[in-house]
């Protein structure tokens, strides 16, 4: 009894086989091929060319090398060596009698017996006393002027607050004095917490300070030795030894090849496209690329200055981007919900400001340049519902 499963299986297999035979039904674009100009040369030309590069053997017949002379005389016997006689055993000698007895050993140092235990060796220096730390009853983020999705520690005292963290540029004494780096001050992002912390939520037993970790002992600095006068490494590629008069065939061969290649390049039609390069479409954006773009925009979306009514508005805006990742034209409002006209206007202005501010923070948005067609048009929905109770 053939059940419907047999038919389904048969149809499925037939369809799959047919699908495979028909080449998956896709019109796959061929992979990009970089054209390499080449040509063919005749066997005679190649032989001539190789002959010109191969040094010709000398016209004279080779002469045999002189045979080595073999000395058949046996080597002289080794000279007789006198057998060493053993040294006579010395007679025992009585120890000399000292006329003056040696001085008695110094009396041991007598100390009064006490119950005090011996002094232990000095311990290593103790670390500095730790401040009395109270146990935090409840971890509560510290108060900060900036609230964002990801927290960041307060900037170091010697760092300037900036959007992007960078280390201070310190001149290196050992560096090449001719290479002068632009002195930059250390920057750090502003202190950020993930939620608003009110005075009432601030636990009184919170840890205010932490013990600074002990610094590791510094390694002994290696002795500074004057390096020998060495010639600085040449960054330029090693120069080819100029052809000596002894190698004229090589020169001829190189010239031939160059001339041949030049002729070929002249004869071959140009493979360089004259039209503008096609805009890369690229594969779809990955999740990480989408997240990177989203994070960069949301870091500029400041909802703190919006009215309560505007914080109820979910708004969708659209804009086009140029290939250098800048907004082409202006931001357009697509849709909005959750508020009156004034609240929507504020929500739109805040979203628009976030887009332009984020664009101006660096060299455009962080988007893969080889996927331009995937992000040429962008539609962003700003939903502040999760931010109202931060």
């Amino acid at each position: 009894m053939k059940g419907p499963g047999i038919y389904i299986s048969a149809i499925g297999h037939i369809g799959l086989i047919g699908w495979l035979i028909l080449g998956w039904g896709f019109d796959a674009d061929p992979l990009p091929i970089d054209p390499i100009p080449f040509t063919t040369i005749s066997g005679d030309a190649f032989a001539d060319m190789m002959a010109a590069r191969t040094p010709k053997p000398a016209d004279a017949e080779p002469t045999a090398l002189p045979q080595p002379v073999v000395d058949d005389t046996p080597p002289p016997p080794p000279a007789q060596v006198a057998t060493p006689t053993p040294a006579p055993t010395p007679d025992p000698v009585a120890p000399p009698v000292a006329e003056n007895p040696p001085p008695p050993p110094p009396p041991p140092l007598v100390t009064e017996a006490t119950d005090v235990p011996p002094v232990a060796p000095a311990p290593p220096p103790a670390p500095p006393p730790s401040p009395q730390l109270e146990v935090s009853q409840r971890p509560t983020p510290r108060q900060a002027d900036r609230i964002a999705a990801t927290p960041s520690a307060p900037a170091p005292p010697d760092a300037q607050v900036a959007d992007v963290a960078q280390q201070e540029t310190v001149p290196d004494a050992a560096a090449d004095p001719e290479v002068v780096l632009d002195a930059t001050q250390a920057t750090a992002p502003p202190e950020t917490t993930t939620e608003i912390v009110t005075e009432a939520e601030k636990p009184s037993g919170a840890v205010e300070t932490s013990v600074r970790p002990q610094s590791r002992p510094s390694r002994p600095t290696p002795p500074v030795s004057t390096p020998p006068q060495e010639t600085p490494p040449q960054e330029t590629p090693p120069q080819e030894t100029p052809p000596t008069p002894a190698d004229p065939p090589a020169v001829v061969a190189q010239d031939d090849i160059d001339n041949l290649l030049a002729e070929l390049s002249d004869d071959t039609p140009s493979q360089t496209p004259t039209a503008a390069p096609a805009v890369p479409a690229g594969p779809p954006m990955t999740g990480a690329e989408n997240d990177g773009f989203r994070v960069s925009v949301q870091s500029c979306w400041n909802v703190g200055g919006m009215s309560s009514a505007a914080q109820q508005v979910t708004i969708t805006v659209a804009f086009d981007l140029t290939t250098d990742r800048k907004v082409d034209g202006d931001v357009r409002q697509v849709s909005a919900s959750g508020g009156d006209a004034q609240a929507i206007a504020v929500a739109f202005r805040t979203a628009r400001s976030a887009i332009f501010q984020c664009q101006n923070r660096g060299a455009g948005f962080t988007l893969p340049s080889d996927k331009y067609e995937q992000w040429r048009e962008v539609e962003l929905t700003f939903d502040p519902s999760g931010m109202r109770l931060r």
């Binding site: 419907p4 389904i8 149809i11 499925g12 369809g15 699908w19 039904g25 002027d145 900036r146 609230i147 964002a148 502003p190 608003i196 009110t198 005075e199 009432a200 939520e201 601030k202 779809p284 989408n290 773009f293 989203r294 949301q298 500029c300 979306w301 400041n302 909802v303 703190g304 200055g305 919006m306 009215s307 309560s308 009514a309 505007a310 659209a318 004034q342 609240a343 206007a345 504020v346 202005r349 628009r352 400001s353 976030a354 332009f356 501010q357 101006n360 992000w375 040429r376 048009e377 962008v378 539609e379 962003l380 929905t381 700003f382 939903d383 502040p384 519902s385 999760g386 931010m387 931060r390």
Partner: protein, 438 residues
């Protein structure tokens, strides 16, 4: 049939990726940031020699107002790339973008005799366009602070989309002397503590002043007769009248209705305290509660339909809401501790309150259904919250511990941020925030 189904399935599988690749890149942003908006305010141009001082003072005041909200941050003048030398000068937006100023405020001041004119423009730097049109205010040189506050209010309103609160006043109880012999007087001042003026002398204890909706009158509780009575004070001429109260009754904790024609208050008679409403025009009064417990501190909703008040009818002091005409009340506070002095926000969405729990006092807010309770402050004694006209800021009084403790005013954003002291020349308590001045 099965074949069609499989064909359709294969077609959908093939079309899926193609369809997914079409159209714009669509993303949803849900996590933003909350941080002060940087703004630049080059000192306003003095268009006459006499205007130089006023221009500098008004510029400084606008910066103080905006930065004092915690929503804005001034970009220091030392960071400016381009200078504004004329009110009509075109704006070099790129220079202001480079220093990350999101808003630019330019202005000019003219003084002619005793008349002062201030005008300003606000620019959205990243949009490269003016935000709203230019605006100018005219007044007297003595009123330069009010004009500065009005400029700040306009800027605040255009950027945030909600009204400001800088051109408003506070009525309060000014305090002087030791705790056991404290002198209390009614006083009025600007929202930032400037222009403090006394409305009463210190001959009688005064408590709980409350502004009328348009700011022309003040209700307060006076112990002039030895018993608490409710007085109505005219702010313009300091004239007073007393709410009629029978012998042996104690009236306190008054508030105006939203139209300013009626007063709701607590009346204690025979050991029982209930909430009443009295018409100021006719003197007719209505009893709104009749429970044997203590009902007090009534506050009307913005539309006047409901009253939030405190009551100990459940055994502890809690918050309740009932109709403005009385009737059954529903409890909205259920947390630990005791709740009191509820005040309905001007927006109508929140209720501010004082909470006492575990030996600490808090100022907090909750929604009108009791949800989303959030404590904003914590101290030895915080009490008496009052709302800014825009419902975004709360002012309250804080008293320090000990015999030498003093009372002072503080303000805090409803998010709990920007907690700061209000500079008052003397000790102060019981603030009531008035409306924006006309």
């Amino acid at each position: 049939m099965m074949k069609r189904f499989l064909t359709l399935l294969v077609a959908l599988m093939l079309a899926g990726p193609v369809l997914a690749q079409g159209g714009p890149l669509r993303l949803t942003i849900t996590d933003g940031v909350i941080e002060p908006i940087p703004f630049a305010l080059p000192s306003f141009q003095a268009e006459s020699l006499e205007a130089q001082q006023a221009a500098a003072d008004i510029s400084r005041l606008v910066v103080q107002d905006l930065a004092g909200t915690g929503l804005f941050r001034e970009v220091p003048a030392t960071a400016f790339i381009s200078q504004v030398s004329s009110f009509a000068q075109p704006i070099a937006y790129a220079d202001w973008r480079a220093i990350n100023a999101q808003a630019l405020i330019t202005g000019a001041v003219t003084v002619t005799g005793s008349q002062l004119v201030v005008k300003f423009r606000l620019y959205d730097v990243f949009s490269g366009a003016e935000l709203g049109g230019g605006l100018q205010f005219a007044g007297t040189t003595q009123g330069w602070r009010r004009m500065g506050h009005k400029v700040a209010d306009a800027v605040y309103s255009r950027i945030t989309g909600e009204g400001g609160y800088f051109d408003s006043r506070i009525v309060l109880v000014s305090e002087a002397g030791p705790k056991d012999n404290r002198q209390k007087r009614l006083a009025i001042m600007d929202y930032d503590g400037a222009n403090l003026q006394f409305l009463t002398d210190s001959s009688a204890i005064v408590l709980a002043p409350r502004f009328s909706p348009n700011g022309d009158r003040v209700l307060y509780t006076s112990f002039e007769s030895g018993f608490p009575r409710i007085n109505v004070l005219d702010v313009a001429n300091v004239g007073q009248q007393q709410l009629p109260t029978a012998q042996g009754e104690m009236a306190f904790s008054p508030r105006f209705s939203r139209d300013g024609r009626q007063v709701i208050y607590s009346l204690s008679n025979g050991g029982n305290t209930d909430i009443y409403r009295t018409d100021l025009g006719t003197g007719q009064h209505v009893r709104l509660t009749s429970a044997p417990s203590i009902e007090t501190a009534p506050s009307l909703s913005p539309n006047g339909d409901q009253i939030v008040f405190e009551s100990d009818r459940s055994g502890t002091q809690q918050l309740y809401i009932m109709s403005a005409n009385g009737g059954e009340a529903r409890r909205i506070s259920f947390g630990e501790g005791r709740y009191g002095t509820p005040v309905w926000s001007p927006r109508g969405d929140l209720v501010a309150f004082t909470k006492q729990n575990a030996g600490r006092f808090h100022i907090g807010v909750m929604r009108t259904d009791g949800s989303e309770e959030r404590l904003l402050t914590s101290s030895f004694l915080d009490e008496g919250p009052t709302w800014a006209p825009n419902g975004r800021v709360i002012m309250f009084s804080r008293e320090t511990q000990g015999a030498g403790g003093t009372s002072s005013l503080y303000s805090v954003d409803i998010s709990g941020r920007n907690l700061k002291a209000v500079p008052v020349q003397s000790g102060a308590s019981d603030p009531s925030w008035g409306p924006l001045q006309q």
